[in-house]
Structures are given as structure tokens and as C-alpha cells.
Symmetry: D2
Subunit: 264 residues, 4 copies
């Protein structure tokens, strides 16, 4: 296109209107991470044919994240609406060609640009309302990052509560969450316009660059997942809690690659 | 996929989690439509190479729509959150292989499912906050569908006002809006995961079925478009008002077809 | 005050900043009304000492309303954000000095001006997310006002579902809802700044003027009330359904009067 | 009332439904504070008769605050929706009986409980959409609390931008903002139900307890105030910037006292 500019829709003459400026996209956030075991069959049922079950096939990582993000051109700096968003993600373990991978199976965000970035990266994003305790250093209304500190997260969508989570901090640890450690293997998908086969359905991988992590707090967690006619979270209910964590995390997304086309 | 079901992401074991059930998608709504002429160069600058300028090259159709929609499986019937949304669209005229077409160049909606349906249909959707006067039949607080009735629409995104519009009704007419009459020629687009070329960028067309239109009110309109670092609406400012309309409209989307791949 | 103008806070030099312009306030809306019997003790427990139980002491009227409202100065006409709001109300019957009255015991709205108007009128308003099916006349996505038409309402607050309601229309009737027919007897209340006794706690009454009602549809209803740590709706669960209705309604609020000070 | 419990409406049998549990209310937050001089006449025009102009009569303090708050009963701890809110406040200086005081003349918050607490404390609260940069410690997407760090705030209401603000940090200072240092003198106000005289209109004062403040960053600020048919902020435009600050702040509200009734 000679005249139309932009990384995403809407393309426009000046290239300002696009919902997404091009990567790299930088992220700085706070993470509340809860690892647990669900029914292995329920986890395996979420894997595409190209992925095999993990060695710990029921392991799930539930993450609440409170993000700031920006693109390289920096237009978000003085418009925090366009840099701040919150999200809730369910990661599971799997294997690809025999090697451990992880995969995001469900995810909710609260901004449109985050939703479209998700479609680019193979995150199956929907909009939701996410709330998450923030650590504070003054006053009596905020939890400190200290033993006994309680950090809560809630997820709702369509006016229905989907997730209640709570972590009670115990101590700083050297070992963080493990389920989402292996390379991320998501699937990009866009329905075709004829309403039958998907136009895109491909297994992709990417790993961020410039990763930075703050002190990792370890703690005890509780999770309640709720039923809904629009979601299937109950199938992922915890059978056994593993570990939970609170920490800051930063990284940069600079693109990924397509591994193969999914069979339809 | 043997085990994963759904028309859109997220795919899931039961197929309830997908943001979009498959078409047909049914729509019933109220339309406030304002046709005007903008600077022809500004309109032409929004066309991809595959489309030529319309005979009336600066014609624009600004539509505020207050929708209810549902899919064939009807899960939205008792959850109006999932059926009601509002949107603002800018349509322009063009030609494709010498024949008149129309094209949606900018569009804002206020729900995630509407946003993803847009990506399927080639609408360049972003989220916005849309408000639109509704006609009433009782009390002193609502406009009647009658001469002198004032119907207003406002669009904001990211906490910034983008569009103020107002139509004052004059009379019922037999002739409705014309700019968006020819077949719709949108472009579907999804960035590639490597951050360079789009993975999908294709010219598509579709026309709804089962169209139904209520009585068409004609009126006089005013529009103000506002500047923003994230949009380019000022370039489409009215130079000359054409006609404005208020009416109900229903149709069904049952799929479209790809015409050609855009050159990148 | 010589220099500060306004009917409500914030008072300001020009009087434009006040959240509420003075009455009269005009209202035009659509009502979904469901009458039922709850546990009489639960209803009686919601009455202040100055009111006695109604003859039908467990009768409750649950109303979903989709409003447009405006003040006399009309500044809301071209800003539908400031005229449109939705609300959910629970009314119960009672007696005052031996005569039948009604009383709003719980109410949620989705705009700030509606919330403050509520405090003026003795409605115990909180913010909530309200969705409500709208009747349509075209297309396959909207319910018609006709036998078999299904009209649904949902209420959520703080990301928790509180009420699911559904009315299936049967026929037009001459007799509308009755629980909220007698004069409204609300209580205005504002805590004192010292945190002990309320500064205002008074029994008030008002009846709208210029009431107008559209055709009344009668139907069958279902209600589900949900538990929450922030509400007490479960106590009002239906024991027996009475009648349900869908109709338009308009009126004007032009002030009310104080009947007596509540004992504290 | 024997049977109805609660600090605020709605009063209820169990006392869970009230929008506000009783004080003490604890607050922990982050403050972006910008002090400047506006036209002194515009500031003086915002004072009630009982207050005299300050020695620096045009001084204004614009505060963006990102709060967590809770009541003594702690029900907000696992429901961050009920503890987190953001607000934007305009404070001005004044004198009461010859002694320096400060006064909040305009304020916007984004939650209902914060709005009602405001009415109790004499803050003239309306709802608005507030965004505010948060400091981060990892990644490339967040500003650090360090020289050159840019912290931005935006306020919108009704889909209109009202305030854009930006502070560029320079250094840690020992001296914080001064305009809002003297005792707060707000006015509580509730219209009467007859629509004529206010039922409450009283000058009140309170000072928090258990105040705690973090390191204070000093910086340079820019502010843009926007026109609106529903607000009067343009009259408070900066004529001269004073100082700007970023710091954490905690305090507890345990009640205040009425000084006198305003003349109406």
C-alpha cells in the first residue's frame, strides 16, 4: 500500500489511527502467580493435537498481572489509559516434539489494544474486569510486601465473577513459578470470512527479550473458580495447590515465529 | 482438531468459551445516519490501491448504531450484556473494477465480541464509548420520532471526545442513505507474529441477508469531529452536509467472500 | 451565598458544575416489573419503626428500568451520557399511620447523577451494572412486544452477579403492577461527619406528576437472586411469583415533603 | 432503629448492604501534586462567604491520587474492587476567622463508595475516569522514580477530557506541597427534597490521623484544562507554575466536626 500506514487496523494516511504500533512492545508489571494441579484430563483436553501432555500433566499456572506497556514510539507515555491494563491468564504445561513447552489457554484483559496484541501473539483474549491488590509502603489501607501480607485478585466478565484468588505472603524465595518457564507455544487463529474454516490457525512460539524480575515472594494461595454459560473454568478447579508468588516482571516482545499450521 | 471446539478463540473442550459462536449472526438496531461531503483527497487517501475513487469522491456516511445481536444458538437471549452494543462507523464510497462499492474506514464498538466479529468481517474496530438518544413514546424526557425531534450521538475513546453529532427530524421519507448502499468492500488484516508483513490482508465483500428497515425519518444534521493523537478524524471534517436519517434496521450476516489479496 | 451557584455540589461561580440541576426532573423509560412474595419476615425486617407491615406483608416488586431523564434546562439533550441510565429497584409494601404505602429498599443505578438524585429522593442507591432486553421491530436479533417475547434483565455490582430475571410476555393487560402503587415512603439519610449519628434521617414522600404509561404487557417471570458479601438479596428470594409486566412509563419529579424525623 | 443496621444507605437487617461501613477509614495512596497560581479572582469566586481569600489568593493544588482504602472491618481486603479507586482534586487556599485553611473545590472519583464518603466529608465528588502513571522498578515500559521520570495524569468525565497533566521528576526534596497544608475546610451539602433550600449546608473541618508520607520527589509540571458544558475548570487555568511533587501518602479518617451552618 502506497498510501495506507499502520501496523494493525485501522490503516490510515498518517499511521496514527492503528490500534497497535509495531513491536517491540515493552512491558513492566506486577505478577500474582498461583501454581496448582487440576484434573490432568481437563488440562490435556485443552491441548491441540500438535502438543503432548506435560510430565506433570495437570499443572496449571494462574497469573494476575497489573501491566504498564508501551511501544517504541512512546505515544503512551503521557496517556496512561493507553499503557495500563490488567489481565488474568491460565497457563498449562505441554510438550512439543518431546520438549517441554507452556501454553496460555485462557486469558482476559481490560483494554482493546491488549486484546488485539493478544491475537497477534496467539493469546485467546477476551475482555474482563480484573482487580488486584497493590503493595503499598505507607498508611493502614495497603498490604506490605512482608510475611502475612494478603494479595487478592478477582476476575469478572459480562458481570459474572469467574475467579477469586488470594495469596498470603510467607518469605522471599530464590525459586519462582515453573509451569510457565518453558517456551510459550500459543496458537494464532482468525476465523475465515465464509464462516467455515479458520483463515489462520497456526502454532507459534516467542520468548521475550530483556527480561527483568524483582524479588520473588512465596506464599500460600486459595482459588475459587466459578461456573458461567460463557466459560469453562470449573473444569480447571484446583485438586492440589503447588506454590504461589508475587513479584515484578518486565520484558520486551520483539516478534515470534510460526512453527506449523494446525490441522483443522 | 479432535478435541478443541469453537468458532473463535479461545477454543475449548466444550466449545462454550469461544468469544464468537459461528454465523449466522442476527442484528436488530436503530441507526442515526449522517451523509456529508469531506475533502475528496482525505477520502481517497483512505482507499487501498485496489479501490478507485467514487463518482462523488468526498462522500462520507457517519452512522451511530444501537444494536442487539445474537447468534443462532441463542445464548445471548437471557444475557443482554452479550447482545447489546453500540457503534460508530465512518463509511466512504469507492469503486472496485469500475463498479460502485462502499467501505468502512473507521469504527468503534463497546463490546469485545463485537470487536472480534469486526476483525472477521474486515471492520477496523477499536473500543469506544458511544451514546445515542433513543426515541420514546411517554414522558417529557425523551424525544419522539416526530418533526423537531432531536437525536444526538457522542463518541469518545480513551477518555477523549471524538465525535459530536445531532440530527433534527423533519419528516418521513421514502429515500434512505445512499453512500453505504453499494456492496461493502472491507479489508481483513492481521499482523504477522514476526512483526513485519501482515499474515492476512485481503479485500473481502459481504452483503447481509434478511434485511428489514423501519420507517425512515429525514432531518438536518450537525457534526463536530475532534483531534486526537490516536485518530485522524479531523481530516474527514464536513465541507457540505448532504442528508441525515433515523431508522431501525435489521439484517443477518451469513458469511462473505475474499476478492483478492492486497499488495503489501 | 452571593457567589456560589448550583442545586447540588459542586457549587460554582457559574452554576454549570453542579452534578444536579434543580427539579423538575423529567423521566421517560421502559419498565420490566416482577411482583412476587418473599418471606414476610424478611420484608418486615426492612421497614423502619415508623412503618407497619402491609396487608400482603411479603409482597415485593422488582423493577428493571431503562431511563432517559433530563432537567428543565435541557443540557442533557445533546449529551445522552447525561440523560440515559439504567436501574434495578426492589420495592416492598408497608403502611404508614394505617394507610398503604410502598418503599424502595434496594436500588442500583449506573450513573453518578442518578445516584445523587437518589440521595435527594430517599433512594438508597449504589452503582451497579444493569442490562435489559429492549424490544425491537425489525431483524431477527430482537424480541418483539408480542406473546412469547422474552425480556431479560441482569444486575451486577463489584463484578458479581446479583440478579437474573426473565419475563416471557403473554398478552396486553389493563391491570399493571400493584405493590408500588401506593404513595412512595422513602428515607433520606446522610451520615454525620463525626461518624456517630446520621445528620439527616427522615421519612419522606413524593409522588410524580405528569405520569404517562404505555400499553402494559403481562407475562410469566423467573428470578434468581445471588449471595454477596456486600448485599442481602438472598433474604428476598421469591417464595411465590405474582405477576410480571413490561411497559413504558414517564413522569416528572417536582419535589416531595418530609413526613417526620426517624428515631435513631 | 431497632432492626435496621448500617452506617450509610442502604440500611438493612444484617448491616452488610450499606455502601459505607463506619469510620475509621484508612487510606494508602500515591500522589501526583501540582501547585500553581490561577487568576486570583477565579479562586476567590469559589469560596463561600464564611471564608476569606488566602495570602496567596490564586494558589491552587491539583492532585492526582491512586488510592487503596479500607474500613475497620476489613471486608475490602479480598475484594480490591472495593478498596482501589483513583481521584483528581483541586484544592485552593483560604482563611477562616483569619487563619489559613485549605478547601477542595472540585473532585472526581471512579467508585460509588468513594463518592458517598466524599459527601460525608464535604468533598463535592462526581464520577470521572482517572488515569495516572505508576512507578515501576523493572522492564522498559514503566517510569522509575528517578530524575527525568515522566508521570502523567488524565481526567475525563462523560467522555470528555477535562485535565491533562505531566510531571517530570528532578530530585528528592524535603519540602512537599503547601497549598493543602492548612486544615481542610469543606462544605457538606444535601439538597432538600422540596427542591428549594438545601437540607444540609454546613462548613466542616477534619484532619486525618496516622499520617505517613514517603520520599517526596520534586519536578516540573505542565497542565492543560479543558472546557466542558458540565464543568468550569477553564477559569482555573495556570498563570504561573509553582512546584510539583510525586510521593506516597497514608492517613486515617476518623471523623470531623461542624464549624457552622452556611448562610443560604
Amino acid at each position: 500500500m502506497a498510501n495506507l500506514k499502520g501496523f494493525s487496523l485501522p490503516l490510515s494516511p498518517e499511521g496514527k489511527a492503528n490500534l497497535l504500533p509495531p513491536p517491540p512492545w515493552h512491558y513492566s508489571g506486577d505478577f500474582m502467580t498461583i501454581e496448582y494441579r487440576a484434573d490432568p484430563d481437563a488440562v490435556i483436553a485443552l491441548l491441540p493435537d500438535e502438543l503432548e501432555p506435560a510430565d506433570d500433566p495437570g499443572a496449571v499456572n494462574l497469573i494476575f498481572a497489573d501491566w504498564q506497556s508501551c511501544s517504541e514510539n512512546g505515544r503512551e507515555i503521557t496517556e496512561p489509559y493507553y499503557s495500563q491494563y490488567k489481565e488474568v491468564m491460565f497457563y498449562v504445561g505441554a510438550k512439543y516434539k518431546g520438549k517441554p513447552v507452556c501454553r496460555c489457554v485462557y486469558i482476559w484483559v481490560d483494554k482493546d489494544y491488549a486484546m488485539l496484541r493478544g491475537l497477534v501473539q496467539g493469546f485467546p483474549k477476551k475482555l474482563g474486569e480484573v482487580w488486584m491488590t497493590r503493595p503499598t509502603t505507607v498508611g493502614k489501607a495497603g498490604m506490605r510486601l512482608e510475611p502475612g501480607g494478603i494479595f487478592a485478585g478477582t476476575l469478572s466478565a459480562g458481570g459474572r465473577r469467574l475467579v477469586d484468588a488470594k495469596v498470603t505472603l510467607k518469605e522471599i524465595t530464590q525459586n519462582g513459578p515453573t509451569v510457565s518457564d518453558p517456551p510459550l507455544h500459543n496458537s494464532r487463529h482468525l476465523p475465515g470470512i465464509d464462516g467455515t474454516e479458520p483463515a489462520i490457525y497456526e502454532l507459534v512460539t516467542f520468548s521475550g527479550t530483556d527480561k527483568e524480575i524483582g524479588p520473588i515472594w512465596y506464599g500460600d494461595a486459595e482459588i475459587t473458580l466459578f461456573d458461567s454459560p460463557f466459560d469453562e473454568l470449573k473444569a480447571l478447579e484446583p485438586k492440589e495447590m503447588l506454590g504461589s508468588y508475587y513479584h515484578s516482571f518486565g520484558y520486551t516482545f520483539a516478534g515470534g515465529k510460526v512453527l506449523e499450521q494446525h490441522k483443522v
